[in-house]
Symmetry: C2
Subunit: 449 residues, 2 copies
């Protein structure tokens, strides 16, 4: 890990004053931002290799996704235009159940490749029940920052494959093994998270144990799905006589160390619970749209000061993992359904991505802005591109105009991971070829065609 200097026409700091430094530069030492300022000053003051010094570049904090399923990437294109029940029971669950060690590794690797290529440096990731070790190994190898863990399911219901349902104690034991192996791996680049799937696939015992284990260890987190669709919240009410978030709250699954994905069908008193407990919520606009889940009331969360972040969810419900798409779709959905072009402006979107994203991963003290002492997780964007010509405002360009090809370089934990269309940590061509073969095999095995 070498010291380095990165320069850019615009340095978007996202610091307390929201400064954008023109002709700026960062000095990075041992993966940490040690100083930042004008290019002239930084180059005069520090004796380090200038790694990036090209015209037409925006240097910004790497994008943070607060809800992803990297391990589902290999199902991309296998579950389109289906009813939610068919999507889950005929596709996602049987496919997840059939994942083996090798597929787990390559599928998560595909997901991380796509995220990094589109500017994401960190994600809160939910693997599947089995072979989580291999998904985490993919994160280790490619160099992404992630809070990641195995999925927890100890009850099922109609149509859930048996290999996905574990005994409560086995599930927790496996989790503890994984967290003891991986939590804070590589100086904290990888952190562990408990991922109970959702209210209907976990017992009360499991949720309660997840809460007490989270309290027991240092810097752990809980990540689950909540109130994504109407049938889900109706079933939870029938079974528990509580509304969904109220039920989770009663089991300790709310708080600053919890991130709930979706939060679409939320009752008034539940918004109050989320506000009081400062629970993180992750909005997944593409997934909510493609699955017909509904439209999350993002402005309500912002108005109530409930921290709401953004995420792409999984490839089979999106079908991409690009924050450019999530940012634009988030803005579009609020503006279209409210008939208000001023709803959810570009700066609000970037606050969700960077500030609330960092919180939703429990990493607000180390990522989400370019400031002295923070981790060097950086996306370098090239605006000398048809999609951003003409070029005026970097904030508007990032949210409304950029495409994946605007990503010039990605630095994670002070390490140059991707630059000029090439990964420096992995061989993308070999991985794509291998992943495609595994996907064809998986499809034949599970879907029989």
């Amino acid at each position: 890990m070498n010291d380095m200097i990165i320069t850019g026409d615009y340095l978007i700091t996202m610091d307390m004053k929201n400064r954008i430094i023109r002709n700026g530069a960062l000095y990075i030492e041992q993966g940490i931002i040690k100083d930042l300022g004008t290019k002239k000053d930084i180059i005069a003051n520090y004796d380090a290799q200038v790694v990036i010094d090209e015209p037409h570049k925006i240097v910004a904090p790497g994008f943070i996704q607060a809800h992803t399923h990297s391990v589902q990437t290999i199902f991309r294109g296998l579950a389109d235009d289906l009813s939610l029940l068919d999507w889950l029971k005929k596709r996602i669950l049987p496919l997840e159940a059939a994942i083996d060690k090798e597929t787990s590794y390559y599928s998560s690797m595909l997901g991380f490749i796509e995220m990094i290529r589109t500017g994401t440096t960190s994600c809160l990731d939910m693997l599947t029940v089995n072979f989580a070790n291999e998904g985490i190994s993919a994160a280790r190898d490619i160099g992404i920052r992630t809070r990641i863990g195995k999925m927890l399911m100890d009850m099922g219901g109609d149509g859930v494959p048996e290999t996905l349902i574990e005994d409560t104690d086995d599930a927790l034991e496996d989790s503890i093994k994984l967290l003891e192996k991986w939590h804070n791996y590589d100086h904290g680049r990888i952190k562990y998270v408990f991922n109970p799937r959702f209210a209907l696939s976990c017992t009360e015992k499991l949720f309660k144990n997840v809460r007490s284990l989270t309290n027991e260890y240092n810097d752990l987190f809980i990540h689950t799905h909540a109130s994504e669709n109407l049938e889900e919240v109706a079933t939870v009410r029938k079974l528990t006589h509580k509304s969904n978030i109220e039920y989770l709250h009663s089991l300790g699954i709310t708080g600053k160390d919890v991130t709930l994905a979706h939060g679409i069908w939320v009752e008034e008193h539940e918004y109050q619970i989320l506000k009081e407990t400062q629970t993180n919520v992750c909005h997944c606009p593409s997934s909510n749209s493609k699955l017909g889940s509904g439209v999350c009331d993002v402005l309500k969360y912002l108005n109530l000061n409930i921290p709401i972040a953004l995420g792409a969810d999984g490839a089979p419900c999106n079908n991409n993992l690009s924050m450019f798409q999530e940012m634009k779709t988030a803005a579009f959905l609020q503006k279209a359904t409210r008939k208000d072009p001023k709803a959810l402006k570009a700066p609000n979107i970037l606050n969700m991505v960077w500030k609330n994203g960092a919180r939703a991963l429990g990493m607000q003290h180390s990522i989400g802005s370019l400031e002295k002492g923070k981790k060097a997780d950086i996306v370098v964007l090239d605006y000398n591109h048809i999609f951003t010509t003409p070029f005026f405002d970097p904030i508007s360009a990032i949210v409304y105009s950029m495409q994946p090809s605007n990503v010039y370089a990605v630095i994670i934990d002070g390490k140059l991971v991707f630059k000029e269309n090439k990964f420096l940590t992995i061989d993308e061509t070999v991985i794509l070829k291998k992943a495609n073969k595994l996907a064809q095999k998986l499809k034949e095995k599970v879907l029989g065609f």
Copy 2:
């Protein structure tokens, strides 16, 4: 214009039987598809240069956009997150009014560059009132197929710059000059269209004259905006005592040779008018979202068998001109607002793009499918890419997974215009640099900052 053979793993024909030919090829002579079939047969039967013969390619009809404003591309990023009134009166109209000859050329050129880079081979384009000749010249130079014309406005209202409002006869005279110069230029690659802006900027006399001129000349078309937002339809009702489309219908602005952009706020009897007259409608999902116009009832149009196509509208209300985004956003909006993941499936979307797109340009006999005798307007898509890995179904991949970088080559009128990230007809780098300079000048002049 040379004879050529193009091969691909998948040939999406969009013919009557919706055939997808595996390991297929096209033989093209003088810009026309002369034959198609398996690669083996085509290569054995024809003695022509094999221009594209690489693995992992999908060969499909070029995308068709049925509503664009190429000349607004230079306003990209200058009109974000504003109320509709501010968007129009503080930005779009003054900027349009300030366009000079050179800006008109470079702005439209930017638009065509972005469209072609993202797979579009044809568009129905509305320029501005002045310097339309330069916008059409850009289409001539880059090689796009377009039905294009000057914008017609002969009345204004509060806040409309005077230079945009013409005397009715002058507007028509200028149109006739342009159409006599450009209509059917380059063996029909460029065709003319009358572009009255919308009900509130045109007199009855103008609309009536447009209708009679359209009847007088061969193969002309009418293209206007209709029922895009609630205030517009309310004002039209107040002024004309008719609903908007009813009013246009009374002036002859409906029919198979008419394309109406947007069609969001449409009354029941107006849907019937559109159905009976088989008027084309163009859905612009990104624009409708970003401007907070509302959500078009696409399924209603499809159920009523009213031909509805897709378009990106202009850069200041989008901010891109990519059909990948429009296809995905169209599907997302219907699924999200109906809470139905089966609403507007991938094949429906591609029907809108290709079949209805060709109709909306009055070109259904020459483009929109790969068939013997049709024009060689082709997009070659590379699916060996992270965004389309794994790869299963080409239709689903195009609609839900592809990004602009999946476009490998674009052929228009039998001419290779774009291949492997490079234009063969223009110098993109020079144009981007020049356009950026013009844009900065325009911004300072009009907006004063």
